[in-house]
Amino acid sequence: MKEIKIDPVTRIEGHLEITATVEDDVVTEAYSHGNMFRGIEKILIGRDPRDAPIITQRICGVCHAVHRLTSLRAIEDAAGFKFPGRPGIKEIPDGARILRNLIQGITTLYSHAAHLYLLAGPDYSDALAGTGLDRLDPFTGAGYLEAVEAQRILHEILAILGGKVPHQMTAVPGGVSLLPTETTIDDILTRLTTSREKLENYPLLDPDTENDWVHEKAVPDILDMVGAAADLGAGNWGVGPGNFLCAGVYDLEDRTQFIRSGVYVGATGERIPMDPLLIDEDVASGRYTPESGGYPGETVTEVDLIKDAYTWYKAPKYNGMVVETGPLARLVVNNLDPLGLRAEYGQEANKSSTLNRLIARAQEILILIPEVVSWLNELADKLPILGPEDFYEPYKITKTPTSGIGLWEAPRGATIHWVAIDKGYYRYWDPESGRHKRRYGNVIKQYQVIAGTTWNGGGRDAEGTPGGFEQSLVNVPYVPDPGAPTGSPASKREINILRTIRSYDPCLGCSIHLLTPEKKGYTIRAV
């Protein structure tokens, strides 16, 4: 028996430490430690509700559009806007809806591409693991460098839609600030279809002929990577809780969603509707007071620095179940297995494994590309009849107190924001007197975020049930790759632990948060 510690886990977003117990070259027990904390939700208390999207957006610089869009939905829900599964009297205008879909879709495409090539890909490359896949070699491989270029082109498109990226600026409460023209559409199409030198004279995307970089280069690379992972046995390990949750994403014209919300229960194989009221957070292993747990729309959270706890994660539960979120969850909940890849390579389409998470991410790229192009066409078709009022509906909170829930999906999992708004005094800077003054208006009374990785990365709950990462690391082989070059990361024993964690595409910045409504100060019980 041996205790091991991996700190930091690199090639993910943020600060994650993994400790584990190993017996007979197999992991028997694992702990996930989230090691960075900012208290973003606490910073939001007492601010103008319209500031929440801008501040929560800065939770994460990788899925930089997602928290903004989710937060917008929460404060718009509170102001009476109508969303799938939520009541309301007003609607986000059509043009704004399409633009937000495009922003979300392209963010997801870029994030998946960056994950498969830059973060997870090197683990299966020739340089690191002796697999012969030299296109995946970090810094030098042709595929790696092409992917850097591809994500850059996708970011240029996001900049056309969002002003600048990371942290796009155009999604505003009530709609968008951008009034697209035909030039906007042309600029986007030019970037998608014109070849760039680095992409070896392929256009990035050409859905009509499929004679493009994604289909000619990226898909073969990803299939190679999946093959290498399957050869290593990644279909057998990395088995998570087996329950999947999806919060739903991409609003369509008929008021449904392209990826619908729901929960897949592993024990029975049932797909049930998702009710946000059944979500609870457990804080047994987090550095928070016991009162901090419970339904995120109501809880009072405080830091407890002397508690015998090991992480900054809370452990969210759906109806008492540990659930997995991410691309695999979205596809399983929606009963999708494009090209039958998971059934064929991953043993079973609904199985949670390191391999299936990689496959699902690639599958989502494939189903998303035609959708993004269709939204672009939808926008181009409607452009002549869309006026400024189709991009912005004035945002006004008519009654207080009010509360809202924003349901959305980050590339790496279900993202949900809760907000409570009431009348009160907010601070503003008065340059004349040189100090902050207070003004009466709508203020945030409570804010709570559950991000994609929070679901997966949580620690043990009060009954000792391990979280998603912790469950999926059990039974992972603690052996080096047989063919790995001497001294390379894959010649180290912890390589498969890292592959499993990276298959979740964790984002630690997103997943650790805190809220302390009204109360101030730290809980220090003994000194």
Partner: protein, 313 residues
């Protein structure tokens, strides 16, 4: 898109009328020519209380790996891209005497009355301790992004983790501040170029390179004529009109966004109809929020006196 020498010089030359920065051209040429002979430079990149947005911003620089290669710069330690993990990553950093230390994210307090906070731990030690230790063997320290430069979002009221800028922790060293949420890739790369070419970097009172942060967004804004003729946009979306009444904080934001543009000269916030939120401002977010309320008054531009030059590396 491979950056050729010509394009690289164009990028470097486009940074403004500053005589100092114009001097880059010949220097870069010299650097690239002797590139093969130089021993090469190393960067260690540390992440504190940040969001990895500045890293994502840096990789939006055209052919960033090619550009770094041209400058013979390697990045052995960067948590988001390095091949190694855990103990092996720690060894990489231990062996490193970096020419440049780039820090992303703010630095939280490490203990309160003797109780460890664990707000940000790396290698099992507080980030603050690691930062001081690595900075002591680094030549040049760069704080990338508003969090590292001024505290930014984590330091927003009530500053729950007592987050501080890098310069407050490394008070004995000159820290070059490159604010922005995120920092523009050109600002980071060109500062690097200046340091490599041993060109003195002129810093202002807040240790920002004056060429990038010398004039306000308002002064260079493409919608300034609307402002002068008092044509104000009243609602979103407004392709025309000054955004001041919709909450634009351009008058207090000192940066060259309007002329430099973002994402390979594609766009910038105001062109997309979004009011500037002054993400480069030293008191972002507290003194520039509520973001969608108009600024109380237009401050007279602060004189950007040269404070000192960041010397040779």
């Amino acid at each position: 898109m491979k950056v050729t020498r010509r394009e690289f010089l164009k990028l470097a030359g486009a940074i403004g009328a500053s005589a100092v920065m114009m001097g880059y051209k010949s220097e870069i040429l010299a650097i690239i020519e002797k590139a093969a002979a130089t021993p090469g430079y190393t960067i260690a990149w540390l992440q504190g209380q940040g969001c990895t947005g500045c890293t994502m911003s840096l990789v939006q620089y055209p052919d960033i790996f090619g550009a770094l290669g041209n400058l013979t710069v390697s990045v052995p330690f960067h948590p988001t891209i390095m091949p190694e993990a855990g103990h092996n990553a720690e060894e990489v950093l231990e062996d490193l005497e970096p020419d440049f230390l780039v820090v992303e994210g703010a630095v939280p307090i490490k203990d309160i009355l003797g109780v460890d906070t664990h707000y940000c731990d790396v290698f099992g030690i507080p980030f603050e301790d690691l930062l001081v230790e690595v900075a002591n063997r680094s030549e040049v320290v760069v704080a990338a992004g508003t969090c590292a430069a001024f505290g930014g979002i984590p330091a927003g009221n009530p500053n729950p983790t007592d987050a501080r800028p890098v310069s407050e922790v490394l008070f004995r060293k000159t820290v070059i501040n490159i604010p922005g949420c995120p920092a523009h890739p050109d600002w980071m790369v060109l500062t690097l170029v200046a340091a490599i070419t041993e060109e003195p970097i002129v810093l202002d009172r807040l240790n920002r390179p004056i060429v990038f942060f010398g004039e306000s967004v308002h002064e260079k804004c493409e919608r300034l004529p609307f402002c002068k003729s008092e044509k104000f946009a009243k609602t979103f979306p407004s392709p025309e009109g000054c955004l001041f009444k919709l909450g634009c904080k351009g008058p207090v934001a000192y940066a060259d966004c309007p002329t430099r543009l973002w994402n390979n000269e594609t766009n910038w916030c105001v062109r997309a109809g979004a009011p500037c939120i002054a993400c480069v401002y030293e008191d972002f977010p507290d003194k520039v929020s509520p973001f969608y309320e108009k600024l109380m008054m237009v401050l007279p531009p602060e004189p950007h006196v040269e404070r000192h030059r960041h010397g040779k590396r």
